[in-house]
Amino acid sequence: MTAPPVFDARGLSKRFHMGQATVEALRGVDLQVSAGEVLVVAGPSGSGKSTLLHLLGTLDEPDAGALTIDGTPASSMGEAERTAFRRIRLGFVFQTFNLLPVLSAQENVELPLWLAGVSSGERRRRAHEALAEVGLGARRGHRPDQLSGGERQRVAIARALVHRPLAVLADEPTGNLDSGTAAEVMELLMSLNRAHGTVFVIATHDAALIARAPRRVALHDGRVASDERKASA
């Protein structure tokens, strides 16, 4: 209970300037995420879900507020350190899967290990294992365009987890999937969380997905409107 939170956000604010207009995407968000948690960020379109995930993922920097990830202040990291931090400690899942089309499923999953300098034999073994875990062991050699949407997202999830990150940030991971496939993907994320203790922060509109989440943070106009945990958790 005394371990530092994986994400500790205090008063995060982010503004965008579009010509004369200024959009306040986040207006002082406080959020603590502990090790092993699965968290859904809900809220209407434009409420700031993606912006929050970008900040948590060190893909963008806040205008105000402080963010500490696993005890390290994000503001203390330079560009190269943030890149290395993402490579080693974080995983990403996108609505549009974002697999490299010229690489096979296996090679896509190997990518984070390759970036981390893992040897080729070790890479192959771990990517194979990660694909088997998402139920795609038999489709290793397929290119993304030979896979269905659900299968692609499973490959992307394997890619996000293969290097055993602290946390995975998933922005609308089921946004491009039908409801049945979406439920399977959510189930997969939950089971991977149980197996590895990886933190999942999932931004979504999907009511079914929100309903299954152990913890829900609702954003409204860039502010945290509610933060609830399931009674059973």
Binding site: H54, G57, A80, F92, F94, N98, L103, W114
Partner: protein, 414 residues
């Protein structure tokens, strides 16, 4: 999985566009090879024509005669070599030397029995040695002057066509040569026209004649020669031979000057500069065209893959790895295009040479020339290096674009 391999696979994504880029690079490469080959042919042809047309690779003359007048083609034996046969033996013993052949230059008047006369420029040499050196006299009519030294009263000459025409003489005609001998006296020599020749140059054909060494020395009352012309087995050995001939003759009294053909050939430096200038001009055009075309495609590639590049950055790929991915695509284009261009260029050169194109005589020349394109081995490697440079330049803007990419913008890019 290497970055270079990933770049290669990315190239295969838009096959049509890649094919067009490769075609541009390959065409540029082949164009440069053909240009280089044609220039080398022209230049080699010109050089060899000058060397074997009478310049030789090296000239050995009296230092005092040569000083400040290296480019002089006509040398009076007044300032000539007395012991030329000794020098000849020394030089001909050196490796790579085909022959060191004596020449005597004589200028004067030639007149016919009917009273027509004209100025002439006579060159006398050693016919056997000149043949060995590849000096060819282009005989158009009649016979050459015999190799053996002529007996007194049996002197023969070969007259250039233009001069023969002006005098109205042909093979078998008798003419008289008048010249001032080395004592300053006017001397005359009756000779028979053996044959008509051409120098290949119209201007020179109106004044030129050739005679044997013995005849020229008789006319000038001397046993000296104007100079020795040295010819080598290969033109590329000129520098090396220059040094060895100079060192062999270093102690000679009076001092001798050894001058390479490049310093004696008329307009050599200008012609070389002209060729190099033309080559640079064409090269720059090809360079600019290929840079523009490939830079445009690479930029389109970056734009199209914005989201993918953003994803790579999100996953922790460094800026330089992502920029390198685009740079490596450029390198592949340059390398593959260059190699294809080399093959294409070699094929075209072979084809042109097989067809055999004859070109009209260049200005001032007499004979038409057979067009050939030379394989310049250095140009094949050079063209690939050039294309790599071209592509590196073309990649600058796209790579900078990647380096400046904001991850969040790239991820939300549609």
């Amino acid at each position: 999985m290497k970055l270079a391999l990933l770049a290669l696979r990315n190239l295969a994504r838009n096959r049509r566009r890649t094919a067009i880029s490769l075609a541009v690079v390959a065409t540029g490469t082949a164009a440069l090879l053909l240009t280089a080959g044609f220039m080398a042919f022209s230049f080699e042809g010109l050089s060899e024509a000058m060397i074997h047309g009478g310049l030789g690779h090296l000239e050995i003359a009296l230092g005092s005669a040569s000083a400040g007048r290296t480019a002089t083609l006509e040398r009076s034996p007044a300032e000539g070599l007395d012991d030329w046969e000794v020098v000849q033996r020394q030089v001909e013993a050196l490796p790579g030397v085909l022959a060191a052949s004596p020449t005597v230059h004589v200028a004067g008047m030639v007149s016919t029995a009917s009273g027509t006369s004209a100025a002439f420029l006579g060159v006398a040499g050693d016919p056997a040695r000149e043949r060995r050196m590849g000096f060819s006299v282009k005989l158009r009519q009649g016979d050459p002057v015999p190799d053996a030294p002529p007996r007194e009263g049996e002197d023969r000459v070969m007259i250039a066509q233009g001069l023969a025409q002006a005098l109205g003489v042909g093979p078998g005609s008798r003419v008289t040569l008048l010249a001032v001998d080395l004592e300053g006296m006017l001397n005359a020599l009756d000779v028979t026209v053996a044959g008509l020749i051409t120098t290949g140059v119209q201007e020179l054909d109106t004044r030129y004649l050739r005679l044997s060494l013995g005849s020229a020395q008789r006319l000038l009352g001397t046993t000296r020669v104007s100079n020795l012309l040295v010819t080598l087995d290969r033109t590329s050995r000129t520098e090396e031979a220059l040094a060895s001939v100079r060192s062999v003759l270093a102690g000679h009294q009076p001092p001798l000057a050894v001058v390479p053909w490049t310093e004696r050939a008329p307009f050599y430096a200008q012609v070389e500069a002209l060729y190099v200038g033309i080559f640079w001009f064409l090269g720059t055009i090809v360079f600019a065209l290929v840079v523009l075309a490939t830079s445009n495609t690479l930029t389109m590639t970056v734009m199209e893959r914005f989201r993918e590049l953003g994803t790579l950055r999100a996953l922790g790929t460094s800026v330089w790895q992502v920029a390198g991915l685009i740079g490596l695509e450029a390198v592949w284009l340059g390398l593959i295009g260059g190699v294809v261009g080399d093959v294409l260029g070699a094929g075209l050169i072979g084809l042109l040479n097989a067809i055999g194109i004859t070109m009209p005589p260049p200005p001032g020349a007499v004979d038409p020339i057979e067009l050939r394109v030379v394989f310049v081995p250095e140009a094949f490697g050079g063209a690939i290096l050039l294309m790599l440079t071209v592509l590196a330049l073309a990649a600058v803007a796209p790579v900078l674009r990647v380096a400046r990419l904001r991850i969040v913008d790239a991820l939300t890019h549609t």
